[in-house]
Subunit: 445 residues, 2 copies
């Protein structure tokens, strides 16, 4: 069957589903995209509230390949580093990478709308309010909640962490699956623009209020506001359970986030109106059954602490497209190769994302940790091709697989442990000779 005669149904019209749809339409496939929710370009699904994400290199590359970089550029605000707020409101800035390197705050809704419009312009049929109820994996048939059917040669499940296609797959033979929730929930809150429509905090930064067992973060929006996210345990001391009155909320913010409280006039309303959501890691294998392949969060939902959920999903699309090219659109080969190649990489980013929560909420305010970061920055400056900090490998090196970044990060951490144990090092590190460090690193790779 030629590409032009091949029908691909994509379940899920979110970010990953629409990017994959564009790739496939450009290859010549007949693509139909089905989305459970209404068209977000008509009805504002998130009630006007902006949820923003950090777009970094692994996400940019596919957008560039699809010719969307210029348009997306207009939607983003570069964030060049972390701006830490301590309990007195004092600020410390830690650059994410080197000069010119930044991650980009982008509205999920705005980006999704752009991608859907692009998909439509490529001739993709868009079906909104289409809820999948069941699937025949071998015959490639989708059954919808309204009783209608759709038959496709290939079905891609891009229907997110709570994927219906994966839920059905779970009942098939020998499907390995896990869903693990962390003890923390999150709630979105807002810092509105000031009276002149300007940002009330430094615009080109991701703001963090790290407090050990919990944290608040804020990402800038184009309209002058920031979207904040409070990450807090569900139960116990300092938990969502405890914040059950306006008084408790205000006094909690006054104690831990006094400078944020000053710029959050709608805190109490936001707290009441916005849900407390949970944070899950999804792992499964295989990703394909018959004519169906899972991509994005459907096969590897991760926690948001490395800012790689969307980026890893877009990378899935790029890799899948590369494999279609390599294997002449032979989907049997491609599905197999895709899951074999991507599984270790998505496992790596799932683990890194869980580990980074500790770093964000806790270690970024730790002196020892900050010194390590400075030394790593120095090493990176001195040996830019040899010592690349883990954060940079994950965020800025789209040519390096997640699994490789994770492994190199582990080796570098072991070496840094040795460095930090050297006598007198803390006092004299600025004049230290690091050549042995690089030799040791080279010997371990």
């Amino acid at each position: 069957m030629s590409v032009k005669e091949t029908t691909v149904a994509i379940v899920g019209g979110g970010l990953v589903g629409s990017v994959m749809a564009c790739y496939l339409a450009r290859r010549g496939y007949r693509v139909s995209l089905f989305e459970r929710r209404p068209d977000p370009r008509i009805s504002m699904i998130d009630g006007g509230r902006s949820i923003n994400l950090a777009l970094s290199n692994r996400g940019w590359k596919p957008l560039e390949e699809l010719g969307l970089a210029d348009e997306v550029e207009k939607l983003v605000i570069p964030m060049r580093g972390r701006m830490m707020h301590n309990e007195e409101g004092a600020l410390t800035f830690q650059p994410y990478g080197r000069e010119g390197e930044a991650i980009n705050s982008v509205s999920r809704g705005g980006l999704n709308q752009l991608l859907l419009t692009k998909a439509e312009s490529l001739g993709i049929s868009l079906g909104f309010e289409s809820t999948v109820a069941d699937v025949d994996f071998e015959k490639g048939i989708l059954l919808f909640a309204d009783g209608s059917f759709f038959t496709a040669d290939i079905i891609l499940g891009a229907d997110g962490a709570y994927s219906m296609l994966r839920y059905q797959m779970q009942r098939t033979e020998r499907f390995n699956y896990s869903q693990y929730f962390i003890e923390y929930g999150y709630k979105e809150l807002a810092i509105p623009a000031d009276k002149e429509g300007k940002h009330r905090l430094e615009i080109n930064a991701l703001h963090i209020w790290p407090r050990g067992k919990f944290m608040l973060i804020a990402l800038p929006n184009l309209d002058g506001s920031f979207t904040c996210t409070l990450f807090l345990p569900f139960e116990g001391d300092c938990s969502f359970e405890q914040l059950c009155s306006h008084e408790a909320i205000t006094s909690f913010f006054r104690e831990y986030f006094p400078d944020a409280l000053e710029v959050m006039p709608e805190l109490k309303e936001d707290f009441d109106d916005n849900p407390t959501s949970s944070l899950v890691t999804i792992r499964c294998f295989p990703w394909s059954r018959g004519k169906v392949l899972l991509i994005g969060d459907a096969s590897h939902g991760i926690v948001p602490f490395y800012g790689q959920g969307m980026n890893s999903g877009f990378e899935d699309c790029r890799v899948l497209n590369e494999l279609l090219e390599k294997h002449n659109d032979d989907w049997q080969k491609v599905m197999h190769a895709f899951q074999e190649q991507r599984k270790p990489d998505t496992e790596a980013i799932a683990d890194l994302a869980l580990a980074n929560f500790r770093e964000m909420r806790d270690l970024v305010a730790d002196d020892d940790f900050l010194l390590r970061k400075k030394i790593e920055a120095r090493l990176y400056e001195l040996y830019p091709d040899k010592w690349i900090p883990l954060y940079s490998m994950v965020t800025f090196r789209e040519d390096m697989r997640y699994s490789v970044a994770k492994r190199r990060g582990e080796i570098q951490q072991e070496i840094m442990d040795k460095v930090m144990k050297q006598e007198g090092f803390r006092e004299n590190w600025e004049s230290a000779d690091f050549s042995w460090v690089i030799n040791e690193l080279a010997g371990r790779q």
Copy 2:
């Protein structure tokens, strides 16, 4: 609400469901038991083929508490040790425990029928061919596939590793869940009785043909036959995938299990007729939602290599009954206490069962391993209250929690590693002084 006014619905009329039903009926509850399959006392659900299990101390204790020990005694065949068969058919016997200690081969079907009859005699209402389609956790309503409803104050999900109640629970908030399949499948085969109705192999043993990457086992039945189980990888060299013709099957058995082949006249027919089944480990938490509590395989399905699937399920029933007693039948308290207490124990046996597969298929034929077993038997003989081999703690010490047994086993293994490294020890162990071993063990507990 008093116990007599409390309705308990049990979903699943297998071994665990019927034992729990008996406990609750004795406490005075109104118990209704629902089972998807027909009544096994009328229709033979396994087509007359016997599937047997190893009943050991943790399973006996609840049966004794229910006054069923004498009746069950008539159904079992004690197995006092492992009978290893090598590739030439030579036999080696390893006792499981000390004099008088044995595990017991019992037919799943026979035991289930006895338990259902006992349940019925206690006034429990039995509903067969009742397939649960959905559940309301908060209201305690079961919806059946035929459209009927049943409302209960408490619902127990004893519906096995592929539990429908757990499947529904998985869609509720913050439910941690995993299902992991090993790369091996299994197939049941038979060694029929000889012409005089006698057993063709030693009756009081669990027979093992360990072959490194795979194995065959056989358990005795009352009718003179043995039920064998072949554990083999699904794919690759020496796999079910490879055994695709009668020729391939016979030549595989001739090479690896020649003495078994001689007593398996129906091998080819069995191989064709019996399914190749998969082996899963189920972990989840919490085990309760609203009025529903999961027990047995539904909350902790394990692989069969420690012979503890049924035993751990029966232990669930005993513990749940103890907690009802302790908390005066306050189910809110009991459900909470049950999952907190049992979760670490069932995690421990899940891990031990996975680890024991390697021991059974591989190590039991290893000289070093056999020497360790001999030394451990000696230590057990010399210090019966201090050094108890892991297998004995799990199998014969129903008063010791699985989690404690696992931890003690790890400590003992570390000490045994030291013992085995001592110079000249292998030659002279029979005259060695082991007092330092016991001192070290005491120091670590």
